[in-house]
């Protein structure tokens, strides 16, 4: 397809400019607050700036760094489990036709659509009994509800573009099943797997209500902290935490925006972020 620049009409440019400003706008006061010292009504811009909020955020006494670590660990754990369990499932759904596939697809899809609160309220009792409520492990497990289906969906998209004949070829050339996976399958699915994992990480990274309910306030992740500072009116610290909190997503988007085409399943689960 040749690149053609037909140009846009003035009206289109105007609407586009308005739209993009609207999409960027809410992030601006957050960034400004994070570096403000005082910013009282009715000043349009802060009257003085300081890095107070940032030094608080990075100080060893604040709970921000532990929360950051906690959030990352939980997201990492949920992603790893999702990869280990989700890749074979994605392969089955992407490559093979079998009876009841449609039902399974809906079963995988449903947890991505049904809001977390509807599920987590019921789970709470069991997690309490198992001693998982209030623990990071419990939070990680409950994060699997959105992350695992997301991984399965992404991987089934990856596998539907994958030709398993290459594995058979490797096996006939003397590779063991493990070797065939390592040398043939893995290189083929790796780009999709990487991108899918990063987005899965982000899905866990953004969970709020699941963490709040199962963590019971004892597992403090970044979003919980953010919520608390926001409702307590500490706008400067809220701003700084927000900036840290959105960083992985923005970085990921820089690398992986072109994979969000809606054709490989990456996009469908984005609303859970």
């Amino acid at each position: 397809m040749k690149t053609r620049f037909q140009g846009l009409s003035g009206l289109s440019w105007l609407s586009l400019a308005l739209l993009i400003s609207w999409l960027i706008l809410p992030l601006i006061p957050l960034a400004l607050w994070s570096v403000s010292r005082s910013w009282f009504f009715p000043d349009i811009l802060p009257s003085s700036y300081s890095l107070r909020a940032w030094s608080y955020v990075f100080s060893t006494t604040s709970e921000v760094l532990p929360a950051l670590g906690q959030t990352a660990l939980i997201a990492l754990g949920a992603t790893c489990i999702s990869v280990i369990i989700g890749v074979p499932a994605g392969r089955a759904l992407g490559l093979y036709q079998f009876r009841g596939k449609a039902v399974i697809e809906i079963l995988i899809l449903a947890p991505m659509i049904v809001p977390g609160i509807a599920v987590a309220l019921g789970l709470h009792v069991v997690f309490l009994k198992l001693g998982l409520a209030g623990s990071a492990i419990g939070v990680m497990i409950v994060h699997l509800i959105p992350t695992l289906p997301y991984m399965v969906l992404v991987m089934s998209g990856v596998f539907s573009n994958y030709n398993p004949a290459a594995e058979a070829q490797a096996r006939s050339l003397g590779a063991s099943p493990l070797q065939a996976f390592y040398y043939v399958t893995l290189p083929a699915i790796l780009p999709g797997l990487m991108i899918g994992s990063l987005f899965t990480f982000l899905v866990s990274w953004s969970q709020y209500i699941l963490t709040l309910l199962i963590g019971g306030g004892r597992v403090v992740t970044l979003p919980l902290l953010l919520f608390n500072f926001a409702s307590a009116g500490r706008n400067d610290i809220t701003g700084a935490i927000s900036m840290i909190y959105i960083l992985p997503g923005v970085l990921l988007l820089l690398v992986a925006a072109r994979y969000l085409t809606g054709r490989n399943g990456n996009l469908e689960g984005m609303h859970r972020i």
Partner: protein
């Protein structure tokens, strides 16, 4: 290959729903309740608090889904054209896709609260003389702030799905329509729109289900009474009075039921779309 995944999905997801359902029927061995009844449903359905909350939540979900869908459609129509700087614009269009809802909610709070950026601008232009004169858009009965947050967040989501659909559809159908005498508007109305409908409906359903059940946004931007349904459910669930739990679970079931309807619609439309 599927069984571990199915086990976890069934265990956590179906299990959670089933336990919630049982609990909503009043079965709570923890406090010695071992009978089933519909008291919780009866109670919430008769309470004004719940009904107002349900209506508010429906209003939030419906309004934000419709507005986001329309704006996303417009955005996709512009963005599918080729123009200079398109890749930059495309990136900016996607940027809040990976920004968590909560951050967007805080951003909206700082923009639209009565001491927010827009209130300050209004003061600057002498439209208001003190913060309280700025129209309430946060903690307000119409949930304007919440809706703005969802619209902000969901435009790129729906927009990208529509763009992907448009790419699959191509421009040939519209070319045929024009060649057959359709004006630009007619070829949009009678050709592109019907072809996009499945994508529009399915993404709308995902967004509706999400906005109906999200907790943190209305918890941060919403008023206390009536509160959005997930907020009300959470409050009831964490109530010191354990007797409120069945009601919380009943509300969770109502949220789940509504999303089940959305999933049904989603499955139907994707199926139809694939068959073509």
């Amino acid at each position: 290959m599927l069984s571990p995944a199915l086990l976890i999905v069934c265990g956590l997801f179906i299990g959670g729903l089933a336990l919630g359902f049982v609990g909503s029927l009043g079965y709570m061995p923890l406090i010695g309740q071992e009978t089933f009844n519909l008291d919780a449903y009866r109670q919430i359905l008769l309470s004004e608090r719940f009904l107002l909350s349900f209506l508010l939540t429906f209003h939030i979900a419906f309004t934000s889904t419709v507005i986001a869908s329309l704006l996303a459609l417009g955005a996709a129509l512009i963005l599918r054209q080729s123009f200079l700087g398109r890749s930059v614009i495309n990136f900016l269009f996607q940027i809040n896709l990976t920004v968590p809802h909560l951050v967007g909610a805080v951003g909206i709070l700082y923009l639209f609260s009565q001491s927010g950026v827009f209130a300050r601008l209004a003061y600057e232009f002498s439209l208001i003389s003190k913060p309280s004169e700025f129209p309430a858009m946060i903690f307000d009965p119409l949930a304007i702030g919440i809706i703005m947050q969802y619209v902000w967040k969901e435009i790129p989501f729906i927009g990208l799905i529509l763009l992907a659909n448009m790419q699959t559809i191509g421009r040939d159908y519209e070319a045929v329509a024009q060649s057959l005498g359709a004006s630009r508007w007619q070829s949009f109305r009678h050709v592109l729109l019907p072809l996009l409908m499945p994508g529009l409906l399915t993404s709308g359903m995902i967004v509706f289900a999400f906005t109906f059940g999200a907790y943190e946004i209305p918890a941060l931007l919403g008023q206390n009474y009536p509160a959005a349904l997930p907020v009300l459910a959470y409050q009831a669930f964490t109530d010191v009075d354990l007797n409120a739990r069945p009601e919380a679970l009943a509300m969770a079931m109502i949220i789940a039921l509504l999303s089940a309807v959305m999933i049904y619609g989603y499955a139907r439309f994707t199926r139809r779309y694939i068959r073509k």
